[in-house]
Symmetry: C2
Subunit: 223 residues, 2 copies
């Protein structure tokens, strides 16, 4: 397949918005999340993010990236997280992705994106940050660290998972969560929403043996 070469050295020859969209999509598929927080007065904030990544299972840590001059919503989220030390991460499904995307609009600080876009703040089990009731997989986290990245003044927010809420039908006997069953979406670039379909689960790889698929509960319906 003939491929075009695009060089960073020549990035000045591209329009700025072209370059931002190009680089934002070259990192591949990203998970679709809403981060839920409250400020010290109890006002709720909700922001869409696509930079969540797995950092480890023991302890269970997730990271996400906050840009220095990104849309104001994630900045408000970060200020709330630094004040309250807790936040929620909520998977986005097909039913709520337009509302989730709408949280990226520049609402004033005193406006709750929950009511502005029509999603429901859910408080439970004594956790101080609001979950998104409509979300299929909800995660409550405690802040561990905000790590500065010197190369571009972004920050990586690291949190430890305290609670997870999801439909038990989505949890396979081996612990794997079937995200197709849960209905979670994937994002690419700044604005593209995708529904993944499973090709296969593959067995733990060994040197002298070709990779083989693992039979999945409900695989016939997922594929």
């Amino acid at each position: 397949m003939k491929k075009q070469r695009i060089r960073t050295e020549q990035r000045e020859t591209f329009e700025k918005r072209f370059w931002i969209k190009f680089i934002n999509s070259i990192s591949g598929y990203k998970p679709a999340f809403l981060v839920g927080t409250t400020d010290t007065s109890g006002n709720t904030n909700l922001a869409i993010i696509s930079s969540v990544f797995h950092l480890g299972a023991t302890p269970p840590l997730l990271g996400f990236v906050v840009r220095p001059h990104s849309t104001k919503s994630p900045r408000h989220s970060l200020e709330n997280i630094q004040a309250s030390h807790c936040y929620t991460l909520n998977h986005i499904n097909k039913e709520i992705f337009p509302q989730a995307h709408q949280t990226s609009a520049r609402y004033p600080r005193e406006t709750s994106e929950f009511s502005a876009v029509g999603l429901t703040a859910e408080y439970k089990d004594g956790f101080a940050a609001p979950y998104v009731e409509e979300s299929p997989i909800q995660i409550g986290l405690q802040l561990r660290e905000v790590l500065p990245i010197k190369w571009n003044n972004t920050q990586i927010v690291i949190g430890e998972i305290q609670d997870c809420y999801l439909n038990e039908k989505a949890i396979m006997p081996d612990g794997y969560i079937d995200l197709v069953e849960a209905g979670s979406l994937a994002i690419s670039g700044l604005d593209s929403y995708h529904e993944p379909q499973r090709l296969a689960r593959l067995a733990y790889a060994k040197p002298q043996q070709a990779t083989r698929p693992i039979p999945l509960q409900g695989e016939a319906s997922a594929k």
Copy 2:
């Protein structure tokens, strides 16, 4: 929807492998990449990773996570990156995902995963690390930093994109890369491979206006 609560406090009640698979999948969909490197003698190494994330567009930075006691392949990759200061990240498509998964087997250090799994090392434009010829989107990076994470001894590898190679048909007029057109896959958990289908691209969100979809080139065939 009735949801089950899973608490980190009670993680001792789960089998260790159950917990690892559960937490590895709760972070949502991840991009599917092969990292290509060489050691100081020119021996090639190839490893599958699913932790790549976008850190910024200007300069164009990508991060990925290396665990302290993960499969040996990513450790060999990290040693090579620290010695050579360069590496490639290569998108994985439907045609090569079984071979890509197979790179996670514990091959001896002197074995090249390229030949062990049947993928082709491609050198071009003077870049010292090998690309995967069969990959639809190839990225060449210079190492900027290896950032230690104190909470679990993982490390975040930060690199700056130097070169991108892809079919120009996948580049939309606004700079967005159509990953469906490119054929890139998404991973969930440790072993599940997915082919995403586009639901919609949504316009830049504004406070007083409901979110609307952007018409896409080729959307009829993608949807």
